[in-house]
Symmetry: D2
Subunit: 353 residues, 4 copies
């Protein structure tokens, strides 16, 4: 069950970095939805490696093949199976990690948990898995097409976009390689990533996501609060170390008299420190949250580590890796948010009995 | 299903603030565990109102009655039902919110979602529900008695405990009303809460939780990563706005060469920015995370709001409320962490087939 | 999770035969339903012991106390907690089974599985648990009040009601102690049960259930077929050995040209050997199924058995037991059917997104 | 979620009869199991069309391609993805059912439920789906290799194998086309099927399954009783109308004094009317159950039916269909039984914490 996401609208996935293909099954998708497959591929291209100079230069076409659940262009209500073939199956790049554990990777924990490990490219722990999620998210976006989901890079290392999201134009997100809608900040971020890349190092960052046009009432009380589901989704992404929504950690420094969102007569609020959710349920205001990504663990520098027998060995990153994961994480954040929102839209439709 | 927590070791709950009783059912508890019911009550007392001068002065004895699943002092493997009677059923305190929506409370969203609302004390949205969680956590702690879970107040407003957790003694946590193990900081926090209380205001804060002696291998890949489950659990607590583990949001500012945890020969790491989890699976190092709580929304000051018909009305907090929720949140954080860890211990036992 | 029934409309239960109380939590009940609590108690009375001369003479008032989820007579969408106090806690009746295993009871398997066993009255394995189910079913019936569910006794031992259900009046079901709507057959069944009772023996039987006025479209494809969910529900009842729907086991003897239900122009069918379900989905015709109950294992005769140490011992049934479980099973069958139908009505409402 | 089978060891599936491929994802398979892929293919061949003269003459190679979760011949604990390409995509055979509803098929209910329908070969409702189940079952059998699962044809129409299963040799099951271990009966069954086939008709039958060498303790109380899970699994197979285990419907005619299984000193029982399960939990004796299959609905005779607009039309079966589904159902029954047993073995391993 660990490979299934969602409750009603679910995505179940499989696949290793260097196997023949990865893929998944979307279940619970309502029938009768006209699926635009080009839009799905567009989202895949936003995530794929090699798309710009500041991301990994690996080449993967990342073409999705849908195998079921769609008939004459429409969803039928049946489960939607898909695969994405792996172009990149050269496993000689990974002989050096066959018996040694990369620092701050999951090699050690998988080895101890399972006793057997597909070491090639990290196997199942590879972020290649997130290509499956983007497929699920791209379908979800078409199910809840009224809801607008925009994620963007809000910081790289110490460089933050200082403007509030209300002051930028989301149409700019795709206009630069780092996916920050504020052009001046984007340039600084790109320069920083290039500098880090030259050092053979990597750097962390944050992604902010804004969800607009959400109806009031999404979210289930107690253990399926909307923000808790969003948080769990984001914490499932490789390299994520933190999640906050609305006022977040800043809110923990505030007083109630400062923090409370006062109602307007129409039920909207004058401020939105709540982040669009009250008691776990959407209130119709913008939902926004921020996700923290640690720096990529694979660096092009020598590091000391251990092998399976506990011998200390030296390791040096090989292959083509991202100096900063954040630009490619933007569509992944959106994809997971779209699946969560779709799931809660469906869960909320119950009350119509 | 929104009222059930966990997958194998589950807690399903019911109850409103001003009903006759709240309660729950613990399912999936292994058989043959000697349950110390005094320990359960001790945890209840840590959470209950009226325990010190800096928390709400409401009186609730919060006595747990176990109704099943225990025979001659041991768990039988059957579901464990329990109830906690509500002493405090005076609902006249709440007539003023019958038709009006309290700012930054869930009154509005529940009303819109369900069309009907038990307004007395917030009904199902009341943090009284967390008393049920403490019961579940107190049982869970006895199932995984080798694992040590310690939460404490790490900040109140702008006052932070600056020392790393390794430099304080967890035995001090219960020695002061605010549950900060650093006595000097605790005094400042208490003074700050008293000041805020006099203003009729409230203040936010953070709780840090440290989990020690965790075996390697807990956590399931992809969508049930250990930290994602902990994050979702914490984000289920009333007033929580953020969750971070290990390096957290600070990690997003760092370089890979700084952030990677280098292995010792025995599989431990020299640093622990990972926070005890790699790839979603525990690595045997300390697990630690931090939870952000916004200030309590009910303040003893006049606030403008709206009623059901959209009329603007003035509202003034009544009753006995916490000026800062953090001290009483400490046992709640521990309880949820204990349930998550128990669940994952059980999930991990599968591989023994 | 073994103590939870359903997916969306769920019932989670607890309680042993001789504990202080049994009870449960109904989750996923839509908000705004006016609950008639007298109707709930009426269903409880149909199941309770001591109601007639042909059932066990134990006395249990079986009064349900609702503790949450209902406000001013209506469901609020919150979980509905309830308890039923056990009047009958005399455990001296059960000392003789403390160390010995009753034949064809679950004493042996529970002892081997859990190592600890609440032997009093069978503990968790007692059919007392089904009182909780009747509460869940009585609430469910009010959620789907348009759907008509009628179960009745269709055989006791070798005595069968020969008439098809279309030729009897369901209003007669409650007119006799055995709950068979055909009066002549009912009399024979009652005579047979009285005869068996005098012998200190017990006898099996079957219950037929007819569900009418079901909309087309209930049931989910592949692994949540409507009849599969009904079958699983019925097989959960103590003493059930078989389930068939529509033509059932007789259908396995037939030819396709005999068995196919030919359509009328309006989508109804001329015959209904399908039993109202095609491909796991309701087709709007009557759903009907039959459930087989073995004879009650506790007999008032001496039987040889073994104790915990494998010694052969003689055992003699004590206490007050049913000579035939079928009359009291009728409301239990209905209750589970009602919960299944409610769950699938809710599951089917998804498509309305 | 309707396309997922199981709780811990799960199979999620996709695919239509005439799409490019069907397939599935096995999740929760323990790591380190050496998978014999030839054995998987052997099971596929037992199910596939065209294998003998008494089954459909369609040709499908039914080759399974595993795409993940296996490394160097062993399971890794990761999800196992697989696909089976459809050789048979000629959809012109199905133009006649594009707008008309076949009697006793799911065309009508799917059309009404979803509004859109992949009519080619029945789409998702086709028994082709069961090829996916056989893959899941073939993997499951290797996880629980100590448990012996044997299904066989126990009746075709009115022809029953009269011998108890203890008196036949399961090694004979594969020795004849109808899969009945009693050769004399098998011959009669085959003759009957050939006769029916000539008439352009079809006939029902039953499959009996015997599960041996099961440890004591499998099954979870109350709502996950072992026989209830087996029953639900069997009722998920296309054309199944009934399920009984142990004494089954015959048990409903018996007296307690006849039906009770008396213990031997070692905990085994002298008789086994219980069918190896007490209180939902395996007792170590043979588990056996019987499954009723209705006759295949597609017959090679003219039948009256309706089209989408309610017009009465005449329909005549086309294509290559089974005159009797039972011989090919045998490996499907075993596959589902194997998945259920594996799931409950894993669920039972929890108590080892």
């Amino acid at each position: 069950m660990a490979n299934t996401f969602g409750k009603i609208f679910t995505l179940t996935t499989f696949g290793e970095s260097h196997g023949e293909a990865i893929g998944g099954i979307i279940d619970g998708c309502p029938a009768g939805i006209e699926l635009n497959l080009e839009t799905v591929q567009y989202e895949m291209n936003r995530r794929k490696p090699g798309q710009s100079k500041i991301v990994t230069q690996r080449k993967e076409p990342d073409e999705v093949q849908f195998l079921s659940g769609i008939f004459e262009g429409k969803t039928t209500g049946a489960s939607i199976g898909f695969i994405i073939k792996n172009a990149n199956q050269r496993s000689n790049d990974y002989e050096h990690i066959k018996d040694a554990f990369r620092p701050s990777h999951a090699d050690y924990t998988y080895d101890k948990k399972y006793g057997v490990r597909d070491y090639r490219g990290g196997g199942r722990t590879s972020a290649r898995e997130t290509a499956n999620w983007v497929v699920g998210g791209a379908v979800a976006k078409q199910v809840i097409s009224n809801i607008k989901i925009n994620a963007f890079t809000s910081s790289v290392g110490e460089i933050f976009m200082e403007k509030p999201y209300q002051e930028v134009d989301f149409n700019n997100i795709e206009s630069n390689d780092v996916r920050c809608p504020d052009t001046a900040t984007a340039e600084k971020m790109i320069a920083r990533i290039n500098e880090i890349k030259k050092q053979g190092d990597t750097i962390g960052g944050t992604v902010t996501c804004v969800i607009q046009n959400v109806p009031v009432g999404l979210g289930e009380p107690i253990f399926d609060k909307l923000h808790a589901a969003l948080g769990k989704a984001m914490l499932s992404i490789n390299a994520v170390k933190g999640f906050e929504y609305g006022s977040g950690f800043c809110g923990a420094k505030m007083k109630g008299s400062e923090h409370n969102d006062i109602f307007n007569a129409d039920g909207t609020t004058t401020t939105n420190l709540s982040g669009g959710i009250q008691g776990g349920i959407s209130n119709g205001m913008d939902i926004y949250f921020r996700v923290a990504f640690k720096p990529v663990a694979t660096i092009m520098q020598a590091q000391q580590t251990i092998d399976k027998d506990g011998n200390v060995v030296e390791m040096h990153g090989k292959g083509r890796h991202d100096p900063c994961v954040v630009p490619r994480a933007v569509p992944i954040v959106e994809a997971l948010a779209a699946m969560v929102l779709t799931d809660f839209m469906l869960l909320n439709s119950f009350k119509k009995l």
